[in-house]
């Protein structure tokens, strides 16, 4: 299963609200909310496609200003040319 580490940027006022909404999504874990409004998230899914769908969905959550990808590991996906 691929795993990625994500940083969401939000305004300080809505960071906790966004974090609580993000935490309800299957495959998404909130690891921290920083005082400046950034949220540290770990995403895992069965496929990269599902993972990308989850991350793209984060873009569309109200209050999220940007989504940055810090880490992506897909070592246990059997190699199959796409």
């Amino acid at each position: 299963m691929p795993v990625s580490g994500i940083v969401l940027t939000c305004s300080m006022e809505c960071a906790y609200d966004v974090a609580s909404r993000v935490a309800t999504l299957d495959g998404v874990e909130v690891h921290g909310v920083l005082p400046d409004g950034r949220i540290i998230v770990v995403v895992e899914a069965d496929t990269v496609e599902a993972e990308v769908a989850l991350v793209s969905g984060l873009h569309d959550i109200g209050g999220v200003m940007s989504v940055g990808l810090a880490y992506h590991n897909f070592e246990d996906i059997p190699h199959k040319p796409c």
Binding site: T9, H31, V42, V52, G68, Y71
Partner: protein, 773 residues
């Protein structure tokens, strides 16, 4: 407590994300787990990202000869550990199932496998035959802003110094040429004075024709972060289409295509009329010039243009601006006069640091060089230039549009380090470094990109080698150039690529190529930062990198002595560095780049330069000089404010073709989609190009969302699905179509008119009609 590999990986993901924020996970067990995961059989190496011109740092994790993980490089100053969503696909672009792995040679309508020796013998034979029969200008090479620095350098050296033709061009002509002319005519030296640090330091950011949120997401995040920290920050988006950038901006200013020329002059007009300009700065650092007007559009073959700059006084410049009242510009552009005044006040506000940012809306323009000049005019009038946080900054689209195409000079008229073939001293210097007779380098440019493909169509060019780009999808007026390539009569096309494309189908020989970290290389990004990456994995099958291909070809053509290298990447760079020394473009030794996360030139005594032309930052400016545009010797080291008028586009909507067509990119796909199209996730997310149109226009034509329409220009037509609910919203009278889709060749509709100064075509404006299909 037992920790699984999965726990390790999740801890590693979280730790990497925390690291980008300058904080660390509180649970030390997790930190140790992260470290353990990173060390579990994965070897990490640094590289710049393969996609756009931002130049983000990536750490590439390799296990058992394959890439198994990537992370944003926390040590990379550009992106500080974060990549955009395209980071998910960095490895996938190498592993598509239809990767080219063997050379292919055309036998009738079929491409058959061949050995490298057969393929290279055939290429050499055809090129030699053409040169013997028709001269060296009958062969050429068309490369790319994705070439590495050594690849671009080898191509220039071989074609100009070996074969003896200036028939070398690059796809950067289609995206950056107007920016180059803007820099050269205003400052006497290509590339910006500022850098990405301005995104963190400025107060007002004025975007011209740039959808940064989708096309430069990491840089846009830096802007957003700045705004979060500093409520004073304001983002103003000047555009002809409402995008994700417009949504995030504080102000969206829509304007009629082509009227940026009038708007920028009107902004200057307000600054002058209200005496908001910085007179001291102007007296010290600026001269005024005017060039030719009514300069044409390059629509006819062999169109020639030479500007005729004439000096003018500040008072004459003021007179020139007189007609550009806010009312006049408002009438042309649709931007309210009061908004133009407000923007002029923003630019001139002494309490605010102002940056302008732009990309293809400005450059891909039949007056693109002029628009670049006009943006600089506003910064020069207000003296907001060269200092941290207040600069004009042209953003780029390819990883080495700057580093290779522009700095090495892979264009017909150029030589390395801003030199040109028309200057005898430049040819002399080049020949000395190359160890050849200066007479070998022809003193006249031949064809820029559009003219090169016209020459192929006419048969003036017979043999053309394409590397690292896809012109038979990306050229405007594409029908003509696709047909021209297959006219026979001695025409011979070689295409080096990693996948089959709409260009390989035009080829007589296809060469399988290594990509990204399958080879060693260097690129240069939009802020003058030169990066290095090592080879980390093997290319598939028999694929060989472009540099090897060029040197092998040179050897077979009898030009082997020009490439006497044992370690070509390193030795070429060390040779190339000689062009830059003492020219304000100094580079560090090769070894330095293998260790650092890029350095911004000029690099003097191991130290990079964040801001050019300014004392305290740029070592070329002496103490007490303040600001000095030291590359502009002809104007006594002053920058030039240019009088450049508004002139209309060559083709405007009319009764028969009532809509403007603008082409461009979408988040999911990069350029012609040859890499991103191989990623199943992206293909599913955005499978084909759509016709984005304004809902009111659709209603008037009786068109509903998802209807099929035929979009036609005077040059071609394509059937597309209408999208009224996409993330971009076209303004009334405009449509937008992305150019990534190889099955919907929208560029067949585009006009091949270009900016006479830069040769860059306009992909953003032509007239089309829409009918229900």
């Amino acid at each position: 407590m037992t920790l699984t590999r999965r726990d390790f990986l999740k801890a590693s993901a979280a730790a990497a994300a925390f690291a980008t924020t300058g904080t660390s996970a509180l649970n030390s067990l997790r930190s140790r787990a992260a470290e353990a995961a990173d060390n579990a059989g994965i070897t990490w190496g640094k590289a710049p990202c393969r996609f756009c011109g931002t130049g983000c740092g990536v750490l590439v994790g390799v296990k058992n000869g394959r890439i198994v993980a990537t992370k944003g490089d926390p040590q990379a100053p550009v992106n500080k550990g974060l990549n955009c969503v395209k980071g998910y696909f960095l490895s996938k672009i190498l592993y598509g199932k239809d990767r080219l792995t063997k050379p292919l040679i055309r036998k009738g309508n079929r491409m058959v496998e061949a050995s490298w020796d057969e393929a290279m013998s055939l290429i050499t034979g055809k090129f030699k035959e053409s040169i013997d029969r028709h001269g060296p200008d009958s062969v050429g090479i068309y490369g790319s802003g994705q070439w590495t620095i050594p690849e671009g350098y080898a191509a220039v050296k071989l074609f100009k110094g070996g074969i003896g033709t200036n028939n070398i061009e690059a796809n950067a002509r289609l995206c950056m040429a107007s920016a180059v002319v803007g820099f050269m005519t205003t400052f006497g030296s290509d590339e910006p004075m500022g850098c990405y640090d301005d995104l963190d330091l400025g107060d007002t950011f004025i975007l011209w024709g740039a959808n940064m949120a989708e096309c430069h997401p990491v840089l846009f995040s830096r802007l957003i972060d700045n705004r979060l920290r500093n409520p004073k920050v304001k983002i103003i988006d000047f555009a002809t289409r409402h995008t994700r950038t417009s949504q995030m901006a504080d102000q969206y200013v829509k304007f009629v295509p082509q009227t940026d020329l009038a708007l920028l002059n009107a902004i200057a007009h307000v600054i002058i009329k209200e005496k908001l300009y910085d007179e001291t700065f102007i007296n010290k650092h600026v001269v005024f010039k005017k060039g030719k007007e009514n300069i044409g559009y390059g629509l006819e073959d062999k169109f020639k243009f030479a500007d005729d700059p004439k000096p003018m006084t500040f008072d004459e410049y003021k007179l020139f601006l007189k007609p550009y009242t806010t009312e006049y510009a408002a009438k042309l552009s649709g931007v309210p006069a009061r908004t133009i005044v407000e923007i002029a006040h923003q630019y001139a506000d002494k309490s605010r640091k102002v940056c302008s940012l732009w990309t293809m809306g400005v450059n891909e323009h039949t007056r693109g060089s002029w628009v670049n000049n006009l943006i600089y005019n506003v910064h020069l009038l207000t003296g907001k230039i060269c200092r941290p946080g207040e600069n004009p900054m042209s953003l780029t689209g390819q990883p080495s549009a700057c580093g290779t195409a522009r700095e090495v000079g892979t264009f017909t008229h150029r030589l390395p380090a801003d030199m040109v073939v028309t200057n005898p001293e430049h040819r002399e210097k080049t020949a000395k470094i190359w160890g050849i007779d200066p007479k070998k380098i022809p003193d006249k440019p031949t064809y820029h990109a559009v003219e090169m493909f016209r020459a192929l169509d006419r048969g003036d060019i017979k043999c053309l080698w394409v590397q690292c780009t896809n012109p038979f999808q990306s050229m405007p007026n594409l029908n003509r150039y696709r047909k021209g390539a297959r006219k026979g009569d001695g025409r011979f096309i070689v295409v080096s690529d990693i996948y089959p494309t709409r260009s390989t189908e035009q080829a007589d020989v296809i060469l399988p190529t290594a990509s990204w970290v399958e080879k060693e290389g260097m690129w240069g990004n939009a802020e003058r930062r030169t990066h290095h990456f090592f080879k980390m994995v093997e290319p598939p099958g028999e694929a060989r990198n472009d540099l090897w291909q060029l040197i092998e070809f040179a050897r077979r053509m009898g030009h082997g002595p020009l490439f006497p290298y044992k370690y070509p990447e390193k030795e070429i760079f060390e040779e190339y560095r000689k062009f830059n020394e003492g020219q304000g473009k100094d580079l560090a030794p090769y070894e330095v780049y293998t260790k650092v996360r890029g350095l911004r030139w000029p690099v003097i005594n191991g130290k990079e330069t964040r801001y050019r032309y300014v004392e305290g930052h740029d070592p070329y400016v002496k103490a007490g000089e303040g600001i000095k545009f030291y590359k502009n010797k002809a104007t006594n080291y002053k920058a030039v404010i240019w009088a450049r008028p508004y002139e209309p586009a060559p083709e405007v909507p009319d009764g028969q073709y009532p809509f403007w067509l603008c082409t461009g990119r979408v988040l999911e796909h990069w350029h012609t989609g040859t890499m991103t199209g191989r990623v199943a996730e992206l293909k599913r997310a955005y499978p084909s190009a759509v016709c984005e149109m304004n809902p009111d226009d659709a209603r008037k034509l009786g068109i509903k969302n998802r209807d099929k329409v035929k979009v036609s220009s005077r040059r071609g037509s394509v059937t597309l699905t209408v999208d009224l609910n996409g993330r971009g919203k076209s303004e009334p009278g405009n449509i937008f179509v992305a150019f990534f889709d190889e099955n919907k060749l929208i560029n067949e509709l585009c006009i091949d008119a270009y900016c006479p100064l830069s040769g860059e075509p306009d992909f953003k404006k032509c007239a089309v009609k829409i009918e229900k299909a």
